[in-house]
């Protein structure tokens, strides 16, 4: 077990706990840069998809996992990022400007949306964002001159340093674009969480009233959280558009919003790792299902049967199992396993047990 002897307060907010952690994460980054030489093209494409989902997951994690504002409407911001990027590129703006700019646009719109949303909490916020996600679907159709409506628009290939990058022609370069983006986003995210701003997010999540009593400006904190969350989601949206090539109003339906929220719950609410774990599940579940269906088909001797809706059914069951047995998600389980090994043989069953809470209404009767 690693014991930290702390000699200054700054040690509490270090980005890496100690040299070993730094080493592990550096190894991970090096490994992910070497991925194109390890995986074949198909799985590299899947990895890119996972990275893009992870960026979107990070965006939602900031809002839901760390600030405690459940949003069922993040597909709307994905769409906004995607369309604003595609339209900017069509107008001739270069990638290096259009990409961050689409993120800024999404972030600003997110902050504007946050103004009425500040008055809502809990289920009301979830329902409002759900309605927004449904509305955006129709708004895209209505705004046909810009968005192409039902027939959709193309996202043109990226031109970067004299190279043309697109998902099919140069999958390796596209993977690196996604990888660099996610490294920058994750680094920024981790740094925000060390700052007073990040801790005020967590304070608002844990108890709004207590946070207010400690001098946190709730409205401002929530607005910044919305803005940052949407900005990150906008980046993911732009990449998603590039990944899909062509997209229309149904690419970012309300189902995507729900899937995003489910993803971070499975990964583990309130941890950066959770967004990555969840994205891996989301990204590889369809492949896993089709492979296991083939095995089952071989096993019972029949051909693989197509079962419509299987993916969502299985996904729902996995999710129910997680919330029942491991509410902290994959990351929570990972922390438990790690602690078990670190403390061996002194791990106790009740170490991660949380205090029982009793319910009290927020309604007047």
């Amino acid at each position: 077990m690693r014991v930290h002897f702390k000699t200054s307060y700054n040690q509490d907010i270090r980005l890496f706990e100690d040299k070993w952690t730094l080493f592990v994460y550096s190894l991970l980054i090096i490994l992910s840069f070497l991925m194109p030489y390890i995986l074949d093209v198909f799985y590299l494409g899947e990895m890119t998809n996972v990275l893009i989902w992870a960026i979107a997951g990070l965006g939602l994690m900031l809002l839901t996992g760390h600030t405690g504002q459940a949003s069922l409407g993040h597909a709307a911001f994905l769409a906004l990022g995607c369309y604003s990027y595609a339209i900017l590129v069509q107008k001739g703006v270069p990638f290096l400007i259009a990409f961050p700019l689409s993120s800024v646009i999404t972030g600003v719109v997110g902050m504007i949306v946050a103004i009425p949303a500040l008055r809502l909490r809990g289920i009301y916020l979830a329902i409002a964002t759900l309605a927004m996600s449904i509305l955006v679907d129709d708004v895209i159709v209505l705004a046909e001159p810009f968005t192409g409506g039902v027939s959709g628009i193309f996202s043109e290939p990226i031109f970067l340093f004299g190279m043309e990058i697109d998902r099919w022609g140069t999958p390796i370069a596209f993977y690196y674009v996604a990888l660099v983006t996610i490294i920058i986003v994750t680094f920024g995210y981790a740094n925000i969480m060390r700052s007073p701003l990040g801790r005020s997010f967590v304070a608002v999540r844990d108890s709004e009233v207590s946070a207010q009593a400690m001098g946190v400006n709730i409205a401002r904190t929530k607005m910044i959280s919305f803005g940052l969350s949407c900005a990150i989601t906008g980046l993911a949206g732009a990449l998603m558009g590039l990944f899909a090539g062509i997209f229309n109003n149904e690419t970012f339906s309300v189902v995507i919003s729900i899937q995003l929220l489910m993803m971070i719950v499975i990964g583990g609410l309130g941890s950066i790792h959770g967004a990555f774990f969840g994205a891996i599940i989301i990204g590889f579940l369809p492949q896993f299902l089709s492979i296991s269906k083939e095995y089952v088909g071989d096993f019972i001797g029949g051909s693989a049967v197509a079962i419509p809706g299987l993916e969502f059914g299985v996904f729902g069951m996995i999710l129910i199992a997680f919330i029942m047995f491991e509410p902290n998600g994959i990351y929570g389980r990972w922390v438990k396993i790690r602690t078990w090994f670190e403390l061996f043989p002194f791990y106790r069953k009740g170490m991660f047990k949380r205090q029982k809470s009793f319910l009290k209404t927020e309604r007047l009767q």
Binding site: Y124, V139, L269, L310, G313, I323, L364
Partner: protein, 291 residues
């Protein structure tokens, strides 16, 4: 005349929304959780009824099927609470929201497996019969939906306000710990309320299936029922019905008098407007949380 016709069809649709919203509100009143799968519950109720009643499945008589379907729905509601929701008591609201959404996915998947994905309709004795008075033609099924919904809302309202069990339910949600101390069997009550909401969903499903066809994605109208519940204030049973009626009436009028493309967003736009300007609904019950 045309306006009146639109009004009646809107009222009948609104009653179904209202019934689903009643299911939300009941569970919210008693457990502070929101069942995002209530729409899928309704869809399940419709299919269970079809399974009992239609000739291609069991082919039981209509009245027997109704009783059987409601019993099955009640049992499903109770089992869901017993096996799943009771274990997540005390989790964050986000977790419970996600859990019920996932339940909805699973219900849709299971229904698709059992009954297939094609639209089905319920064989029933009142379909296609009309009542005509004063030049207005009303479908008998529309009238039945409206009457049954009103009676059911009244019964549930009286149950919550007057009966001992209803008061115990309110106590269990207002302050769970204090309710335990006062000898209220909180767990049993929560199981009971889930069973009751299963039955209400069953009734909504049967009424919906008499009006038209159902398929596994029908449950998505639960989102419109959200609009109903929010407009009504999410804690008030008559409010939920009123909200349902408002949404139901707006829909046909919007599609009649507004340009295509704008009409289907009307209920959601209304929902957002209510949330922005009157966040806790028309019958507000919110207050600031104390630490």
């Amino acid at each position: 005349m045309e306006i009146f016709q639109l009004l009646v069809s809107g009222l009948a649709n609104g009653c179904v929304y209202g019934l689903i919203a009643l299911g939300f509100v009941m569970i919210y009143k008693a457990t502070e959780a929101v069942n995002f799968a209530q729409g899928d519950f309704m869809m399940l109720g419709a299919f269970v009824m079809i399974g009992f009643n239609n000739a291609e499945y069991l082919g039981l008589p209509f009245a027997v099927s109704i009783v059987a379907a409601l019993v099955v729905m009640g049992a499903i509601g109770y089992l869901l609470d017993r096996l799943i929701l009771r274990r997540v008591a005390g989790e964050s609201q986000t977790s419970v929201i996600i859990l019920t959404i996932a339940l909805g996915f699973v219900i849709r998947f299971v229904v698709g497996l059992i009954w297939g994905h094609e639209p089905k309709s319920l064989e029933n004795p009142i379909i296609g019969q009309d009542i005509a008075f004063g030049g207005i033609v009303l479908g008998l099924e529309d009238v039945a939906v409206i009457v049954i919904t009103l009676l059911l809302t009244l019964a549930l309202y009286l149950f919550f306000q007057r009966s001992k069990l209803g008061l115990a339910m309110q106590a269990a949600s207002q302050n769970q710990l204090a309710a335990y101390y006062m000898g209220v069997p909180v767990k049993r009550i929560q199981g009971f309320i889930w069973a009751l909401s299963g039955i209400v969903a069953g009734i909504a499903g049967i009424l919906f299936a008499t009006k038209g066809s159902v398929d596994p994605t029908t449950g998505l109208i639960g989102i419109k029922a959200f609009a109903a519940a929010v407009i009504g204030g999410f804690g008030s049973l008559p409010g939920a019905l009123l909200g349902g009626l408002i949404v139901g009436i707006i829909e046909p009028f919007a599609s009649r008098y507004m340009p295509a493309g704008y009409s289907q967003i009307a209920p959601y736009a209304l929902l957002l407007l209510v949330l922005i300007f009157r966040p806790s609904g028309l019958f507000a019950q919110q207050r600031n949380k104390k630490v």
